[in-house]
């Protein structure tokens, strides 16, 4: 099974303030894109495994985002929900080239 990835340009680095999520809708995927304090860009599906809350609006701290609905803490690096809760969200690969941010989607 080939896993070719499609590179989709989604934002300019200059338009992404740190620790503020941006909602990216690509086809049926709704993605929360984050520009972290350490300069990295991370992307996860914009849906909390608890009750579907929009993660993009959460407070970001280090590598984690807190779901604004019921405060579940989720890693934006591996998508794992932190203790004492359980679950995980999909993660997407992100690339930055020449001040443009790209999300890689399986085609």
């Amino acid at each position: 099974m080939g896993t070719t990835l499609q590179r989709v340009k989604v934002a300019k680095v200059s338009e992404m303030p740190k620790n503020i999520g941006k909602t990216i809708k690509i086809g049926v995927n709704e993605i929360a894109l984050f520009h972290l304090e350490n300069g990295e860009f991370r992307a996860i599906e914009n849906r909390c495994p608890h009750k579907g809350g929009v993660l993009v609006e959460g407070i970001v701290s280090g590598d984690y985002v807190f779901c604004p609905m019921h405060d579940w803490k989720i890693s934006v690096v591996d998508g794992l929900v932190q203790k004492p809760d359980n679950g995980c969200v999909k993660t997407f690969q992100v690339e930055v080239e020449l001040e443009e941010v790209y999300i890689l989607l399986p085609s």
Binding site: Q6, V8, V10, A11, E15, M16, P17, K18, N19, I20, K22, T23, I24, K25, I26, G27, V28, E37, P49, H50, K51, G53, V54, E57, G58, I59, V60, S61, G62, D63, Y64, F66, P68, M69, D71, K73, L80, V81, K83, P84, D85, N86, G87, C88, S107
Partner: protein, 822 residues
């Protein structure tokens, strides 16, 4: 053994005891056996000379928490229940890594595999279970493991570092926990199960399939209705073959196909064994002075694999072995309340219908919850809950009592508060099933040790230490026991788990060291986390802004979404918009504007709020700036930790009873105090006479007009902590109201904890202390001066956004990219 001639009683039960201690030997160092020892020590600490044998090299640990060790979240030390010190402090002789291999029931001696012989007067067998390894070819290959003890865990963690594919045989609770752990460790996991849905002991088909759906979304793969016939590979595991001819690859195979009571020792020693070691209602075996407890036991033909029944058994056995009156153990109603991979499930009693057992079902596909209550002979006899287990404790209580189904329907209608629920609980009722902690034990600990928080109760009693399902009940017990003092007691508390510093300490440091932004505070004060958390970031942002109102640049990223975007987020991710309507007064022009905007943007709902204004629901984030632009009204701050509204009654303008102009004063107060950040929301009202039509009596600040003046009431709350406001003072003019209210407002801003409503703040500070500050003219003047300073820098946030395209781009716009078809 000869009785000495000096008899004496230590209990008023007519029995006499020897001065010499009896020798008690416990075979098995696990949870059930050691819990029983703890009960014995609590009853008669000096009766026995205790020796314990355990095959594992560890002191007693919480086997239920092994899955957290697997995930790498906790260490062995963290899940230890009784550490080495406990054994020595209680003068227990402990032999670990040593297995008892023979019991001489005639001579009353046990022999271990290290050729040790120990005499006993009383013997307790707590040999637990052994994992069932399916007898198929290949089950002895390298890479096949059970999931029963710490060694198994360590093996699985090792494998996860080197290999990718795991298969778990068994879709019961243990198998799912193992699968979850392996997923966390980065492996690809298949759960192989012979039935066609999982956890079929606790769940029915509907709940079982709902669980599978959720777990699949988390990345677990399922092979259901599959029987494994062979584990293939050379010396190392390479995969599984099934009876239908299919096969999968695997580098690690976890056998979670069930457990069997560990009875070989008992059987070989002539003790009656069926599936488990057969005991009577007092946990006695067929041989005098030999008892058994725990998973190895069969009582009235039932073998238990959950901890609560085993702790019940231990209690009865302890009393019996100490020669005390004991209620017979009659078996336990099985109940499990679990979080399996983030999903809440609850199961108790019987779970399947037949001609004698009827069910009541509630399936909510939208919220993905399911509830089934079983009824036998008109009485509640079982329940299955999926997704929302908040009713679990109540249902279990009804099942245990055999409550009539009519009572159940009646109780459904009543709003039974959770605190009254724990109030009605008897002291012996187990609150924490994982650790067997009763209500009585928790309440006693709270009272005798002055506990004030759930964490403290957890540290002292172990309640809520494992799955955490009983945390709510523990909180309710704290509330019940401490009453009003409960919330107030959290004063010296650290502001969150990122630090040990309290609010006062942090503020002092901010002032002292001239700290000016949240990251600086966290770095300088040694925060445990990189970036804080959802509690401390907004708190720090508030304190910094309160201390430096003019210079501080508010951090949008440290605000909760509502305050950051200036709208109220709803559960579907849309927002609601509430424009300002000062004093609850509007005009036809305003209403027309609101109506037009609501129609144009297809608002899903238009609603009048409790704060006397109008709310538009269903607005998409990216439309907010245009909605605001077209409304051309300032933000009503319905989302803010700020002043919310000043409600008014009509007052002397029209009302025949009004003695003052309540609308005028209310509007003036709202215009003056809006927008500035406060520790928590502030709600005010102005009534023109004591009939109090604006409900000033339950407001943070409530003004009541009287003939010749105004009364100012403070500290009220109409919400979760209903509280009547108290009279602060009486003044003559509305100018004085503005002055006193301003000073009070600023004093609250400067001295309250973030998230402390004025109702709590007033009780903590004491109304008299606040009065004395406000009676001091100089202090009032200074407070108002600082308030004015903070107010001067503020402007309508909606206008700011409308006029700033880059803010719109960065905070409000979504990016939508249509998918390309190749």
């Amino acid at each position: 053994m000869q009785k000495s001639s000096a008899h004496f009683s230590t209990k008023n039960d007519g029995r006499t005891y020897d001065m010499e201690k009896q020798k008690l030997v416990l075979v098995g160092n696990g949870m059930a056996g050691i819990r029983c020892i703890e009960e014995i020590l609590a009853l008669q600490p000096d009766r026995f000379d205790i020796t314990v044998f355990g095959s594992e090299p560890h002191p007693n640990y919480n086997r239920i928490q092994l899955s957290t060790v697997l995930q790498g979240d906790t260490t062995i030390k963290d899940i230890t229940i009784n550490d080495w010190n406990w054994y020595s402090e209680n003068r227990i002789t402990l032999y670990t890594g040593e297995t008892v291999t023979k019991i001489d029931t005639e001579e009353k001696v046990v022999y271990s595999n290290q050729h040790r012989a120990v005499k006993f007067d009383q013997l307790i067998l707590a040999t637990g279970s052994i994992p069932f390894i399916i007898p198929i070819p290949g089950s002895d290959k390298k890479g096949v493991t059970a999931f029963r003890n710490i060694e198994d865990c360590e093996k699985m963690i090792e494998y996860s570092k080197k290999y990718k594919k795991a298969a778990v045989i068994g879709g019961g609770l243990l198998g799912l926990e193992a699968a979850r752990g392996l997923l966390n460790l980065g492996m690809k996991v298949h759960v192989v199960h012979i039935a066609d849905y999982v956890m079929e002991r606790q769940l029915d088909s509907t709940a079982g399939h709902m669980l599978i759906k959720e777990l699949k979304e988390q990345g677990m793969n399922f092979l259901l209705g599959k029987q494994t016939t062979e584990i293939f590979g050379e010396q190392d595991v390479e995969g599984l073959k099934f009876s239908d001819g299919e096969a999968i690859q695997a580098d690690l195979v976890v056998m979670a196909a069930g457990i069997r009571p560990n009875v070989q020792l008992a059987r070989e020693s002539g003790i009656t064994v069926n599936r488990g070691i057969v005991v009577n209602d007092y946990l006695e075996t067929n041989i005098p002075h030999i008892y058994a407890v725990g998973e190895c036991v069969e009582h009235r033909e039932i073998v238990y694999g959950l901890v609560a029944p085993l702790y019940d058994q231990g209690k009865v056995l302890a009393k019996r072995i100490c020669g005390l009156e004991a209620h017979a153990y009659e078996g336990s109603i099985l109940s499990t309340k679990l979080k399996v991979s983030g999903v809440d499930v609850f199961s108790a009693g019987e779970i399947f219908e037949d001609d004698k057992v009827k069910s009541i079902k509630e399936y909510n596909e939208w919220e993905n919850t399911y509830k089934k209550v079983l009824i036998r002979d008109g009485k509640i006899s079982g329940a299955v809950l999926f997704g929302d287990t908040s009713e679990g404790n109540r249902l279990l209580s009804m099942i245990n009592k055999g409550t009539e189904v009519t009572e159940y329907f009646k109780k459904e209608k009543e709003e039974l508060s959770s605190v009254s629920f724990v109030d009605m609980m008897p002291a012996e009722e187990v609150v924490c099933g994982c650790n067997g902690v009763t209500k009585g034990e928790i309440v006693s600990a709270i009272q005798t040790q002055g506990l004030t928080t759930i964490d403290e109760v957890k540290a002292c009693t172990n309640a809520s230490r494992s799955c955490g399902g009983c945390k709510g009940l523990v909180g309710d017990l704290l509330q019940l026991t401490l009453g009003d003092k409960f919330s107030l007691a959290n004063q010296k508390e650290p502001i969150c788990s990122c630090t040990t510093l309290s609010r006062d300490e942090v503020i002092a440091e901010i002032r002292d060291k001239h700290l000016t932004y949240t990251r600086e505070v966290m770095n300088v004060l040694g925060w445990k986390t990189d970036g804080g958390c959802s509690k401390c970031r907004p708190a720090l942002n508030y304190y910094l802004g309160m201390i430096h109102p003019v210079q501080y640049k508010d951090e949008k990223e440290s605000r909760f979404v509502n305050e950051r975007l200036h709208a109220n987020i709803q559960k579907d991710g849309t927002f609601s918009v509430v424009p300002r309507m000062y004093g609850g007064v509007t005009s036809p022009e305003q209403l027309r504007k609101i109506a037009d905007v609501a129609e144009k943007y297809h608002a899903k709902l238009v609603k009048v709020t409790g704060g006397q204004r109008i709310d538009l629901f269903g607005i998409e984030k990216e439309h907010l700036p245009s909605v605001w632009a077209e409304l051309d009204m300032p933000s009503g701050y319905a989302y803010g930790k700020t002043l919310r509204t000043v409600k008014t009654c009509v007052g002397e303008s029209f009302c025949r009873f009004g003695t003052q102009d309540s609308m005028g004063l209310g509007i003036a107060l709202e215009k003056k105090l809006e927008r500035v950040s406060t520790p928590h929301k502030v709600k005010m009202a102005v009534s023109a006479c004591p009939r109090n039509c604006a409900e000033s009596g339950i407001k943070d600040v409530g003004i009541v007009g009287v003939d010749g003046g105004w009364e100012i009431y403070v500290g009220g709350n109409g919400g979760t902590h209903l509280r009547a406001a108290e009279l602060l003072c009486k003044v003559k003019t509305s100018q004085e109201v503005m002055e006193i209210t301003g000073a009070y407002f600023q004093y609250y801003r400067e001295t309250a904890h973030y998230l402390e409503r004025t109702s709590v703040w007033v009780e903590r500070m004491g109304l008299e202390a606040i009065k004395s500050v406000l009676n001091d003219k100089e202090k009032v003047s200074e407070l108002n001066h600082r308030l004015d300073e903070a107010l001067a820098v503020l402007s309508d946030p909606w206008k700011e956004v409308i006029n700033d395209e880059s803010i719109q781009k960065e905070y409000y716009n979504k990016v939508t990219i249509p998918v390309m078809v190749n």
